[in-house]
Symmetry: C3
Subunit: 203 residues, 3 copies
Amino acid sequence: MLIYILDMFGTAIFAASGVLMAGRLRMDPFGVIVLASVTAIGGGTIRDMALGAAPVFWITDTNYLWVIFITCIFTMLATQRPKRMPWYFLPVADAIGLAVFVAIGVEKALRYGASPMVAVIMGVITGCGGGVIRDVLGREIPMVLRMEVYATACIIGGIVHTAGLSLGILPSVAAVMGIITTLTIRLAAIRWNLSLPIFALRS
Amino acid sequence: MLIYILDMFGTAIFAASGVLMAGRLRMDPFGVIVLASVTAIGGGTIRDMALGAAPVFWITDTNYLWVIFITCIFTMLATQRPKRMPWYFLPVADAIGLAVFVAIGVEKALRYGASPMVAVIMGVITGCGGGVIRDVLGREIPMVLRMEVYATACIIGGIVHTAGLSLGILPSVAAVMGIITTLTIRLAAIRWNLSLPIFALRS
Amino acid sequence: MLIYILDMFGTAIFAASGVLMAGRLRMDPFGVIVLASVTAIGGGTIRDMALGAAPVFWITDTNYLWVIFITCIFTMLATQRPKRMPWYFLPVADAIGLAVFVAIGVEKALRYGASPMVAVIMGVITGCGGGVIRDVLGREIPMVLRMEVYATACIIGGIVHTAGLSLGILPSVAAVMGIITTLTIRLAAIRWNLSLPIFALRS
């Protein structure tokens, strides 16, 4: 139940990031909804298609679509007033959504019989997939591919989650452990601007 | 039957728009076929994958592929002569294809047990998906996301279609109502250059 | 068995091409793994989703993921030393991987009941899909769409493969014939810089 509420929260946050991208690209309201939707449910959709979990999750539970729709209207209104949000609001909210989406992807993959390694990958896809589609449509190099410790946080969070399960920890506890891990790494990366050594071609 | 003919017409039109993009990118003939194909069947393919309608439609009915193939050859030949097409030929043809694809997406989604809201979304995906892939591959910001009243026309047409069905109207009549709605809005948008107020971030 | 070894070789080669792209984009190690993975298994994943072969191949056989992982580490290390590779190493290796992937795509499509025409297309998707995703994420116009005789080689190789089968040739022999055809055409194109006449719009 808590996970479901966090899932809706994550959906709203990711939709809002799609709305903001749409605002930079100067789209009309329905274009905004399209971009918000692919950002919020794109990752989970790819996951479900790959797992063979058909039809995909938002077809059977339309709450996701309502959350996106309401978020679009709310975000468009909110951005028309001079903003009073502290700078860290969006990155922190994004980190929460990301952490929850990773845990949901891991859990669903395991439920469909995937191995722990595949489950971690499905967690990464669920967390990062929507943002990748958003960035591709907006013609930017996907954030996840160039930002500090983004995919990394998802992978480590997913490993903690699956490792917890294979040690026999209660599923909900393992999920929360994974969420906290992903979240902590992302928050630390945001706060101290952490990054891994990058890999660059010698030329 | 009429719908099937229109479907093939829409497939041909969308394939032709892929050929024209390929011509701007100066591709070889097989690259042309690839780009024409993703434009013409990309939207329906995503729809079928999301619905769990496997295998996707063009695997079971290869007429789509033949239509694309013939369209490629015909379009490549036609564009080598000075063109005599009136300016509105392509946008109007595109509008017809779009309207039909939306109706087909709505109808197929309902047949697979989707709710009306999801059916409208599947209509939009079927109509706009291929063009989005075409534009992404050609490194343009997708037309549907920046053009006047494009996704909008699909959404309203899809709503009319599903609303008609839930009022008990004959399926074929409801489909035609939806098609006419999408088509009319697009044609009006083309003729009078209509656009919705855009949403832009205040900076 | 030989095919399986070649498949792993192709996976490694395609992963390495993803690593090199990641190096040009200056990513961190986990971003490298993400880009290598979509390049190596992206094409087969789209194929399996379209065929309804769920779950997709790398979920049931995680050897692919291990090969990608090891390739990433090896390639990152190898590129840190002044390179001694002859110029033709990468294109030739890529051609081998491509040829094998096409044959695997054709074979899997036929196994799922596709017609020969669809099987050829699935071969092309398997061979070219991953590279297209890699290029889109790296914001380049996909190589397959602008390079000499790339999709072309796949299509002809796939046709030889399926034609062989419908003439009653042993499946493994037909597969090898297809592989050799694709490979020969690509190698010839690389060696003599062959290209088809391009299609460009008159303006």
